[in-house]
């Protein structure tokens, strides 16, 4: 028994770290209705500023704590509320998720640019000395870090329970989560209540970040990101509602980790796989077994009917004449681009555009699942990785041509996506996002980590594996291959979108209740769109690996799944055109940023650009680029076609046959 306790007790402080973040997630969700994906980034921000002020500016720990936790952390929460989440309609789950994700990837990138090096060392402790063993339990030494974690968790939990259950503000917060607009009808300043909730939530994030920092010798964002997964798992078992259940599950997870560490053979695959995948298993367990998670985020604001409908897409508004002009312009651009790539394009830009083609195929999978299917998948990079790794393994072990292996890889990615779809068949919105991110992390930690080498060597894509002169540095074969693959994928996606399946998906996205009520099999649509999206991602992943001449797990990590989503959402998630522009925009900006000096180079500015671009998703769910295209299209149209007698047939009439709906403003029905 003492043996067991010796393994279990050291897990409690670890568990408390999960619990503390989980408690923050639950509070945010309870008070604002937002599952805040950016919570880990908020915690990291405060920890970073705190450590930076102490280590680099030599401020006293207390002063640094006040600045980082009491001032900055709630301030960030207030900024989130005022400028981001307040603008999102309560029922728009995808917009909330995208906004949180964009901040999750954006905040560390901002820090990297401001402070050049975003890693800090030896974060100080604010409560107890990490080097002192205060007491022993069952022979286990309890040092300052452990005591700090436990004390911080207990104090935070008690304070929050008091706030939510026994204060007037807590009661108002519980009302605001249902509908901020509804409590305003009762004379309560809903905006102030929600802002208070964000400030408190930010404060806890900052507190958690600073408390946890001493656990890590080197302060880096990836630790906080990993922590988020465990916190998601604990919060999911609490159905984002019960603070005490979140704490209990968090602590149990921490204890399970150290127990497994103690009993499983050190260094074995079981040990590494069990430890890294535990939070994901717990998260998936909650999503599958806890009924409340299936409907999470599905609650509708009683005042949702006052929200205006989303504006129609450009294609629905354009006059046919202008459509023709645009189509011809695209063909001309395509021809000029192809001729340039095959003749005079400098090598460096040829590689950039080739990468753009490969990314476009991967991004097309997001168009399918999010734009057409209305579902947010956070594992598209993973599915691309499944295709690439399958092709690489078949090439290395069976000598199969990489291109043929890529097709098998696409089938494998589709199968993985289908399995994931069946596992998440009852989940929508929040639950689905969590399930897909859990899948991405499982693949990162368990699958890709184990298969990213062949005989201890990284998997390189060599000319003899691909053939057809595709990897010939002086040839143009890859460009031709990538163009053909992209064209075929776009062609098929357009066929699906314009056909019955596209209409069924549109119906499902518009109203799943009505869609099933007219005979659309939602389960089949869910599985089908996942399978198609997986296949396209798998093909894209193979293409990307050929372009990079290596199958690298870092290319397909879960972080990139998030980045890919914000990139596509920024440009336009509803059309294949948006995916292609996202693909090219991503690589061209990446290349352009190599020309800027010092700290602005690298990926940080690129990620910031797209992360903050994704924030426009709320106002322009069709993508900011798509919105600008629509605006300029209609301006030109008005200029060029103003002498037409009849109004554009594509311009729909206003409410009940009223004046035509303007593209720049939503049509308000009712």
């Amino acid at each position: 028994m003492e043996h067991f306790l010796g393994f279990a007790l050291p897990g409690i402080p670890y568990g408390c770290t999960y619990a503390l973040v989980a408690v923050g997630l639950v509070l945010t969700y309870q008070a604002t209705g937002v599952l805040n994906f950016a919570y880990g980034a908020q915690a990291y921000l405060s920890a970073f500023i705190f450590t930076y002020l102490v280590q680099n500016k030599h401020l006293p720990v207390g002063v640094a704590f006040v600045i980082a936790v009491v001032v900055v952390a709630p301030g960030v929460g207030l900024i989130f509320d005022r400028f981001l989440f307040r603008k999102i309609a309560p029922a728009n789950v995808i917009a909330k998720l995208v906004t949180g994700i964009s901040m999750l990837v954006g905040i560390p990138a901002v820090l990297a640019i401001i402070f050049t090096n975003s890693n800090q060392y030896n974060p100080p402790s604010i409560l107890f000395n990490p080097d002192v063993v205060y007491f022993r339990i069952a022979g286990t030494p309890i040092n300052g870090i452990s005591v700090t974690c436990v004390v911080a968790t207990v104090v935070t939990l008690v304070a929050l329970l008091v706030l939510i259950r026994w204060t007037s503000l807590g009661l108002k917060m519980r009302g605001a989560v249902e509908s901020r607009r509804l409590i305003e009808l009762d004379g309560i300043n809903g905006g102030r209540v929600v802002a208070s909730a964000w400030a408190v939530s930010g404060l806890i994030a900052g507190l958690a970040g600073v408390m946890l920092a001493p656990q890590y010798g080197q302060l880096q964002f990836s630790d906080y990101a990993d922590l988020m997964v465990a916190a998601f798992a604990a919060a999911a078992w609490a159905v984002l509602r019960s603070l005490s259940v979140a704490v209990l599950v968090g602590v149990l997870m921490g204890m399970t980790v150290t127990i497994l560490q103690g009993y499983l053979p050190e260094g074995s695959i079981w040990s590494s796989a069990a430890l890294t995948s535990l939070p994901f298993v717990v998260l998936v367990g909650a999503l599958v077994l806890v009924p409340g998670m299936r409907t999470l985020g599905g609650a509708k604001d009683p005042l949702a009917s006052v929200d205006p409908p989303t504006p129609p897409t450009t294609a629905a508004l354009r006059a046919p004449e202008f459509d023709r002009v645009i189509r011809i312009a695209w063909y001309v651009l395509l021809v000029v681009f192809s001729v340039s790539m095959l003749t005079w394009m400098p090598k460096i830009w040829e590689n950039v555009f080739n990468a753009g083609l490969a990314y476009s195929v991967v991004f097309l999978s997001i168009t399918l699942i999010t734009g057409m299917g209305g579902q947010l998948s956070l594992c598209q990079a993973t599915l691309a990785g499944v295709g690439a790794f399958m092709a690489a393994q078949l090439a290395n072990h069976l000598g199969l041509n990489f291109l043929v292996g890529g097709l098998v890889g696409a089938v494998a990615a589709a199968l993985v996506a289908v399995v994931l779809a069946f596992a998440s068949v009852r989940l929508r919105g929040l639950g689905l996002a969590l399930m897909t991110i859990a899948a991405a992390l499982v693949f990162d930690n368990v699958v890709f980590a184990e298969v990213d080498t062949v005989h201890g060597q990284p998997i390189n894509v060599t000319p003899h594996l691909v053939g057809l002169g595709i990897l010939n540095p002086n040839g143009r074969a890859f460009f031709v291959l990538a163009m053909v693959v992209l064209a075929v994928c776009v062609f098929l996606v357009l066929r699906v979108r314009r056909g019955s399946i596209g209409r069924f998906l549109g119906a499902m996205q518009g109203s799943s209740t009505a869609a099933s009520g007219i005979g659309v099999n939602l389960t089949w649509m869910h599985v089908l769109v996942f399978g198609l999206s997986g296949a396209v991602a798998g093909i894209g992943g193979t293409l990307l690996s050929i372009n990079q001449q290596a199958v690298n797990p870092n290319t397909f990590s879960w972080e990139f799944s998030l980045v890919f989503v914000v990139v596509v959402v920024t440009t336009g998630v509803n059309t294949p055109e948006g995916a292609i522009q996202a693909g090219f925009g991503y690589v061209v900006l990446q290349q352009v940023l190599t020309y800027v000096p010092g700290r602005l180079g690298g990926n940080s500015l690129l990620i910031i650009f797209f992360a903050f671009g994704a924030l426009t998703y709320v106002a322009h769910p069709e993508g900011i680029l798509e919105f600008q295209k629509r605006r300029w299209t209609l301006r030109f149209e008005r200029l060029l076609l103003r002498d037409r007698t009849a109004p554009s047939s594509a311009a729909p009439p206003g409410p009940d046959g009223g004046p035509p709906v303007l593209a720049s403003g939503p049509a308000v029905g009712g």
Binding site: T313, G506, I518, G670
Partner: protein, 258 residues
């Protein structure tokens, strides 16, 4: 309670549904014959929409049987019930905001008759056929939406959206139409027009209809028989005038003490 005549199309037998201990529907039984129009009325909270949800498959009852043409429905998913011929409109308008009016009807027609196939899409064989176009146009004309066929539904007002819902249900040739407060949010003129359309369509097509409605003049005009619910139970059934004269109905529904 049995339908007065004709062969039974829809049978609801002892259906119960509770929410957290509150019996929203408690042992409700009634039958609808082929071609019959039945009004389901009662005060707010009587369980009418919950019963609709149980029949259409959005909710699963805890007890009781539901049959359509003798086929048990309780274990059948919603989409399969729709494919059997249960059409539905909703209390709170449920339309597909990104679609045109025509697309609403087309998607409903194809879903009902299982005409959506991936391979057909990939082979570009999914363009509307002449038969589909004719069918859609005739239903649009029937409900008076033919001049707004190509309009995005997001640009329509509430009254038109209710007509879109009705047309979407009718284009699938339902054997029974479940209309849930179709006049909600409409003005007197629109309600009268809607009542006329419903009656005409129901008679012309010989389909059965169950109408939940608070506008009693519309109910009186449209239905053959009326079922009155209160607090999850059926309290009266019969001809409209007869049940409205029932003291229990006047007390429970109209608040009139005899």
């Amino acid at each position: 309670m049995a339908a007065p005549s004709g062969d039974v199309l829809l049978r609801v037998d002892g259906v119960s549904k509770t929410f957290g201990g509150i019996a929203a529907v408690n042992g409700v039984s009634f039958e609808v014959s082929r071609g019959e129009s039945v009004g389901l009325v009662g005060p707010n909270g009587a369980g009418k929409t919950t019963l609709f949800n149980c029949v259409c498959g959005q909710l699963r009852p805890e007890a009781g049987r539901i049959e359509l043409e003798g086929r048990p429905l309780v274990d059948m998913p919603t989409f399969e019930r729709a494919r059997l011929g249960i059409g539905r409109t909703y209390q709170r308008v449920e339309v597909f905001p990104d679609m045109t009016v025509r697309d609403h009807l087309l998607v409903s027609y194809r879903a009902r008759w299982r005409k959506g196939r991936l391979w057909r899409d990939l082979c570009n064989l999914s363009k509307p056929t002449a038969e589909e176009t004719e069918k859609v146009d005739s239903v649009l004309g029937m409900v008076g939406l033919d001049d707004r066929a190509e309009a995005p539904v997001a640009s329509l007002g509430l009254g038109s959206c209710r007509l879109v819902e009705l047309a979407r249900a009718l284009v699938a040739d339902p054997v029974v139409l479940m209309a849930d407060e179709p006049s909600s949010g409409l003005d007197i003129h629109e309600t009268q027009e809607l009542g006329t359309v419903l009656r005409q369509v129901q008679r012309d097509r010989g389909m059965a209809m169950v109408l939940v409605e608070h506008d009693l003049s519309m109910v009186a005009e449209v239905v053959d028989r009326t079922v009155v619910m209160n607090l999850g139970e059926v309290i009266a059934e019969g001809a409209f005038a007869t049940v409205m004269a029932d003291p229990a109905v006047r007390t429970a529904y109209l608040g009139i003490q005899e």
